[in-house]
């Protein structure tokens, strides 16, 4: 028998086993699906937050609020100071009226609470420059400038967000690993049970000269199938979660808008499904100990025609 013929045989037998014992197979599939779904939610959160941070990083801003009583010359000097460094992408002057209008537009519920917003300079810069030793000094010079009221910097917020992303990734990895371990254990139990149910047949196969590869192959493929199915279900669940929960709201919360930048890439989606398959394969491999595959004791008794 060629390797390809063996694979076809394994796949057919594995599929038959799945169909015959569909209840326990379903349990295994759902367990791995839940594990991968929860892991996938963290992956989705981490990738979306990363995407959002990358987006913000390209448009990092420093807001210099102007002193209402500053002279025009002082304002001009401040604007020149703001444009001076090479990391500055652009400087936009926002008047008090325009600031008020923006606030009203972005937070309509709070518009009545705030009055007399100051005019400001919005200084766009490359975020990687924030680690430059001259950056902090430049910010300090802006802060000390006569026309400057106060300076609001994105760096702290973005740093906090990056920490959050690292945390989300770590939690996702740990939780995913724990849940995947549970899924491997479940699949191992299901495969062990299936092998136990089929031990008579396995004994016959061994008796007539089947190799261990041939005997175990269908169980490996069965575990792989269960894992793949679990991965597909998880992926479907993630897609539904993304569309309905993250993107479905007409009035998204901050968290929803943070996490709805993009769905998993094709590569990440394939990885989720293959991870399920791999977990199933590992579960099947660890479950098939030789002693489990021995036939049950003979129970002789007279049989007549």
């Amino acid at each position: 028998m060629t390797f390809l013929q063996a694979l076809v045989y394994f796949a057919r037998e594995a599929w038959l086993n799945l169909v015959r014992s569909w209840k326990v197979s379903l349990l295994a599939v759902l367990t791995i699906a839940v594990s991968l779904f929860l892991g996938g939610v963290f992956l989705l959160a981490a990738t979306n937050l990363s995407a959002r941070v990358s987006q913000w990083s390209t448009e990092a801003k420093l807001l210099v609020y102007l002193d209402a009583e500053a002279l025009d010359a002082e304002r001009t000097a401040l604007e020149e100071l703001a444009r001076e460094p090479s990391w500055v992408i652009g400087v936009e002057s926002v008047s008090a009226e325009e600031a008020q209008e923006r606030f009203r537009r972005q937070l309509p519920g709070l518009a009545d609470l705030v009055e007399d917003l100051p005019a400001s300079l919005e200084v766009g810069y490359r975020l990687e420059a924030a680690t430059d030793p001259g950056f902090a000094a430049w910010v300090e010079r802006l802060r000390q400038a006569p026309a400057s009221g106060s300076v609001d910097d994105d760096r702290d917020w973005i740093a906090q967000l990056r920490t959050t992303i690292r945390l989300a990734r770590m939690v996702g990895l740990i939780l995913g690993a724990v849940l995947l371990g549970a899924a491997v254990f479940t699949i191992a139990s299901v495969i062990r049970l299936t092998a136990y149910l089929y031990r008579d047949e396995i004994a016959i196969m061994r008796l007539v000269g089947a190799t261990e590869f041939f005997i175990r192959g269908p169980f490996w493929v069965e575990g792989f199938f269960q894992g793949l199915l679990g991965g597909l279900v998880a992926l479907g669940g993630l897609w539904g979660f993304y569309r309905l929960v993250l993107q479905g709201s007409s009035d998204p919360s901050l968290l929803q808008s943070l996490l709805s930048v993009r769905f998993l890439t094709a590569g990440e989606a394939v990885a989720v499904v293959l991870l399920g398959g791999l977990a199933g394969l590992v579960g099947a491999a660890v479950s098939l100990r030789r002693e489990l595959l021995t036939p049950r004791a003979e129970t002789p008794g007279p049989v007549t025609a």
Partner: protein
């Protein structure tokens, strides 16, 4: 075909199943292996198809030293040996066709070839018309014939059977025995373990007797019932022409190292 040289088998618990067993079965011979329950019959058969490994001695099957075959090569040995059990070991959820075609499937034969060899094997046991039946739809005798067809499907040179009639009534047992004789006439070597003295008496042929793990008898007997076309194909060993078979369980001399003939047997020669 089969050669045992001072073979011993001790199980991990310390139980000595076989001790210093030496015999030789030439190609084409029909041999009964008898003895009381626990005498070591099943262990001896298991040693032949490497289900067990001897603790001492050497076993040659068709010129190959079974004891030293690597684990990975065992399946290839088993493909040359047909094995039949008392409880048939058929898979209830599989049809007769599926039950007999395990080996062709393992070998990767296409469905057409599988059907051809299954038909041939089942025709030899008179069940070609039950190809699509399930085991539970068959009588005990028919189930055992299906098991024999499964063992024959690769045209093995050696067929071993462990109490193949133990679950059958006398009439069905006799049908199965006649089938074995027919298989043997076509050149297959047969080794059948049984404690059924009536069967041995009726069929005759060479008889190896085990008692407490030792080979205590190696006799050739003439069957009490003439079989159609039955001609002796064996060389006489000891006690040829004996008409009766003693009860192995009541034998004296169990534990003798050398095969000394059937103790208590009235030697007709």
């Amino acid at each position: 075909m089969i050669q045992f040289f001072h073979v011993g088998k001790r199980y991990p618990g310390g139980q000595q199943a076989l001790q210093d067993v030496t015999f030789r079965i030439p190609r084409g011979e029909f041999v009964f292996l008898t003895g009381a329950s626990g005498a070591g019959k099943t262990t001896l058969l298991k040693l032949i198809f490497r289900e067990e490994v001897p603790s001492e001695g050497q076993i040659l099957v068709n010129g190959r030293n079974v004891s030293s075959i690597p684990r990975a090569k065992i399946p290839y040995l088993r493909r040359t040996i047909g094995v039949v059990f008392q409880n048939f070991r058929l898979i209830p959820r599989k049809t007769v066709f599926e039950n007999v075609t395990y080996l062709p499937r393992i070998l990767g034969q296409d469905l057409k070839s599988q059907k051809k060899v299954a038909y041939q094997a089942l025709r030899r046991v008179g069940l070609a018309h039950r190809l699509n039946a399930f085991p539970m739809e068959l009588s005990g005798g028919e189930q055992q014939r299906v098991a024999i067809a499964r063992a024959l499907i690769s045209e093995p040179e050696l067929l071993i059977a462990d109490e193949p009639t133990g679950n059958l009534d006398p009439d069905l047992s006799w049908e199965i025995l006649k089938l074995f004789l027919e298989i043997n006439r076509r050149g297959t070597t047969l080794l059948i373990a049984t404690h059924d003295r009536n069967t041995i008496q009726r069929v005759g042929r060479r008889v190896l007797t085990l008692a407490e793990g030792r080979l205590v008898g190696d006799e050739s007997l003439r069957g009490s019932e003439p079989l159609p076309g039955d001609e002796p194909v064996y060389a006489p060993h000891r006690g040829e022409g004996a008409e009766t078979v003693p009860d192995p369980e009541s034998e004296a001399g169990a534990g003798t190292a050398e095969p000394t003939g059937w103790h208590g047997l009235e030697d007709a020669s």
